[in-house]
Amino acid sequence: MTPAPGGVPGRADRHHRRRTRPPAALALPAVLAAVFLAVPLAGVLAHTPWPDLAGQLSSPAVAQALGLSLLVSGWALLVSLAVGVPLAWLLARVDFPGKALVRALVLLPMVLPPTVAGTALLRGFGRNGLLGGPLEALGVTLPFSTAGAVVAAVFVAMPFLVISLEGALNGIHPRYEEAAATMGATLPQTLRYVTLPMVMPSLASGAALCWARALGEFGATITFAGNLPGVTQTLPLQVYLLLQRDPSAATSVSLLLLVVAAAVLVALRGRWLGHAR
């Protein structure tokens, strides 16, 4: 999961490895793995109702869910940036007691089943959850609201940002920041003019992954935020419900999400797809 920080040490090595002929014992399972990953995607492409595609994707219901998905994932990204960037910096630069625990907390949502995340969110932020009372006193009720969908998306997506950024921060030597400090730069100035520019590529890729994960969030959303068109029914929820009534429309919307996900990967090609074009 950690993106190659700086990417430099392994690079020469990688060129060497690419020229090596793979042994059959590795090639066979490797091809199997690649085919296994490709078949479902090919299935979506093969069953996409191309003539009806435009009509299905421009239907008011899909447009509404798409708009909501963009709104929710956009907010999730903003919130993740606002609190996730400082968290990544803290994890990379500051030694504090319980750091391992905090890092585990960050990693946990990445491996947690999303429905478990949804149940946990209900128990934490629901009306009868740990913080439900205080939140209600402030006039905030998260379940069944768009804000709740954002909370669910942040919970599952922010780790992707934090982990990639922390990896990148670990990859740059603190001497740059120390040099800036010796020249009189304050900490915020150092971050603004030295650290952030150096990790910008990783920050961008972490943000893109975070956004894509938020866009695709399903389990925690339907469990915690419910399903109401225009309020919490995002595209993945719509795909799930459409599949029961209109499988061909569900396939069209799936294709849309697939294209968005592929676009994110292409945008990140330098970092995640190696040099291969």
């Binding site: 950690t2 190659a4 920080p5 040490p9 392994g10 090595d13 042994p23 014992a25 590795l26 066979l28 399972p29 199997l32 793995a33 990379a92 630069r93 500051v94 030694d95 209900l122 629901g126 009306r127 009868n128 379940p143 069944f144 990896g167 670990n170 990859g171 740059i172 030597h173 603190p174 920041e177 120390e178 339907i222 935020a225 419910g226 399903n227 109401l228 068109p229 309020v231 919490t232 799930y240 419900l241 599949l243 029961q244 009534r245 499988p247």
Partner: protein, 274 residues
């Protein structure tokens, strides 16, 4: 305050070396994995530890039947030691979608005739095995005083309904329409059981569920019965699938659901009988 810069590249390099050193192990592992997968998908491995003698009959059933059919299934297995029932509970629409995608199963029990009718070309003749009714579920003690359908329209009552894709949602919608009640639900849940759990958790103040769901929840919810109405009955048709691996057993299970032991279990759970 500034310092640790461990090289993340080192563990990666070590891992890569390890992987290159053990290609044989790696491929053996994947062969094992694939064979496991294949045997699992073949169905034989899932027939259960009890051995090859027992026939496993797969029953797709509406989620509102979760408790009652699990109980009835135990009794059926006692009476038929050579048969094992395997249940898959979900919203009726979802089950129908699974059947249309070719899921291997023997019979299906849906919570409405509309869903079953749509499956006519892939099922045998359907038999109605139980009836049900809608009720309002609220928090224990009914703190908001929800006493009738009209109260569901109140602005201070957070209502969850089942999505109109699933039978409970359709029944609920037509009931509300007939009574001229306009409800603005906070969520349309993907199954009637999800509606119940949102009320049980206290996230919603009220939900439209089946009386049997409310009864199954016991003290966790308060049930507001709705007056009887003609034409509002919820029907559960059961039908064998045309491609059932065990068509005879499927017919037998459906016939058994109309027998006295099954009827008693259904009645005890709050279902009415055809």
């Amino acid at each position: 305050m500034v310092l640790p810069a461990p090289s993340a590249a080192r563990p990666r390099a070590r891992l890569a070396t390890a992987l290159r050193a053990f290609p044989v192990l790696l491929s053996a592992l994947s062969v094992l994995l694939v064979s496991l997968l294949v045997s699992a998908c073949g169905g034989g491995a899932l027939a259960g530890p009890a051995g090859g003698e027992r026939t496993t009959v797969t029953v797709l059933a509406a989620s509102s039947l979760t408790d009652v059919l699990t109980e009835a299934g135990g009794v059926y297995e006692e009476e038929h030691p050579d048969v094992r029932l395997r249940f898959s509970f979900a919203g009726s629409q979802e089950l129908a979608a699974q059947v249309r995608q070719g899921m291997p199963a023997d019979l299906i029990v849906t919570a409405d005739t509309v869903t079953m009718d749509a499956l006519r070309d892939v099922t045998g003749p359907a038999t109605v095995v139980a009836h049900n009714r809608l009720a309002i579920a609220t928090a224990p003690g009914n703190p908001l005083g929800v006493d009738s359908l009209d109260d569901l329209a109140r602005a201070d009552v957070k209502v969850v309904l089942a999505d109109s894709e699933v039978p409970a949602g359709r029944y609920g919608q037509s009931l509300l329409e007939r009574r001229g009640v306009t409800v603005r639900p906070v969520s349309r849940e993907p199954s009637v059981r999800a509606v119940l759990s949102k009320v049980e958790l206290g996230e919603a103040d009220a939900g439209l569920v089946y009386v049997t769901d409310a009864a199954a929840a016991g003290d966790a919810v308060h049930t507001v019965p709705l007056p009887d109405e003609r034409g509002a009955a919820v029907r559960y048709p059961a039908a064998p699938l045309r491609d059932a691996p065990h068509p005879e057993e499927a017919e037998d299970v459906i016939a058994w659901l109309g027998s006295e032991p099954a009827r008693r279990i259904l009645r005890d759970a709050g279902f009415s009988l055809p």
